[in-house]
């Protein structure tokens, strides 16, 4: 019920607040708590998620296939060879700063690599992992 109140509030404030990776993290954490009230994002879980080979796509087996296994490192599209800016907001300031873009890429890439949509919990863990790269 709590999440039911918080979510619309978060969405309503989207215009007023600057969109940051933290905002995305809070958004997906809140969504995950609807199913799992004690959920809290975990960067280690995010890391194993990013490195896991899902066995769905041959050319794109894991997130790390294109994004490398370190969020601070620039990647390369495994099929086209096009350079991909590092995922870490510390290395690429624009990362995770546009919620619509974040959703778009989770939708495409999760479909691709996992063969299904990612859960809010998985997204929160992933963002936490990517954000913590600042420290390393």
């Amino acid at each position: 019920m709590k999440a039911f109140i918080i979510l619309p509030l978060l969405l309503a404030s989207a215009g007023a607040m600057a969109d940051t990776p933290l905002r995305s993290l809070v958004y997906y954490t809140t969504a995950a708590r609807q199913n799992q009230p004690d959920f809290s994002a975990d960067s280690m879980r995010g890391q194993s998620f990013a490195l896991r080979k899902w066995g769905v796509s041959q050319s794109l087996p894991s997130c790390a296939t294109c994004h490398t296994d370190r969020p601070g490192e620039a990647g390369r599209h495994a099929i086209t060879g096009k350079p991909i800016a590092a995922l870490s907001p510390a290395a690429s300031p624009k990362r995770f700063s546009n919620p619509a873009k974040v959703e778009k890429w989770f939708k495409r890439n999760c479909n691709e690599v996992l063969g299904r949509a990612c859960t809010s919990a998985e997204k929160a863990d992933f963002i936490k992992f990517v954000m913590e790269d600042q420290a390393s």
């Binding site: 796509s57 599209h77 099929i79 086209t80 060879g81 096009k82 495409r108 691709e112």
Partner: protein, 157 residues
């Protein structure tokens, strides 16, 4: 005399015009954002209207990846591609039209040695920017071509 010079200069520039008109269309920010993330935003003039329609009809299975966009974006991009499509068609038999399979592409790149296509920095013929440094901005002019492995030594690293 002046007129003669003008006529001559127009003739001299004709081959250049014929060549660049296929890549001359302005790449809109939306097209670049939606179709220029995984690969360079290809100039719309490089495929025919029917080719683009075919491509847009199966974005969820776009060369083995899910490149789907929402309905509104889809409509806008399809319109942009249809308006700016060229007359060149990819081979009819292909399920997915490929720019690199058109006769035009093959002819333009006939002088590129086979070793270049296999170079790790090139990886695929669709990786325009590997040699055309202005490709992200839709520029493919001769002056902006630098082929990996064919540069001077000090540029190798």
């Amino acid at each position: 005399m002046k007129r003669l010079a003008l006529v001559l200069s127009i003739f001299a520039s004709l081959p250049v015009l014929a060549d660049s008109e296929r890549t001359a269309t302005r790449l809109t920010p939306q097209y670049q954002a939606e179709c220029g993330s995984c690969h360079v935003a290809f100039p719309p003039g490089l495929l025919s209207k029917a080719d683009w329609q075919k491509t847009m009809a199966r974005l969820d299975k776009h060369f083995g990846t899910d490149a789907s966009v929402d309905a509104k974006t889809h409509q806008a991009i399809l319109g942009y591609l249809e308006r700016n499509a060229g007359s060149r068609s990819a081979p009819q038999a292909a399920a997915e039209p490929r720019i690199t399979a058109t006769n035009w592409f093959r002819k333009e790149h006939r002088e590129v040695p086979g070793s270049v296509w296999k170079d790790a920095r090139v990886k695929t013929a669709a990786n325009c920017v590997a040699c055309h440094s202005g490709a992200e901005q839709g520029r493919y002019g001769e002056s902006e071509i630098a082929v990996p492995g064919m540069q001077r030594r000090h540029e190798e690293n």
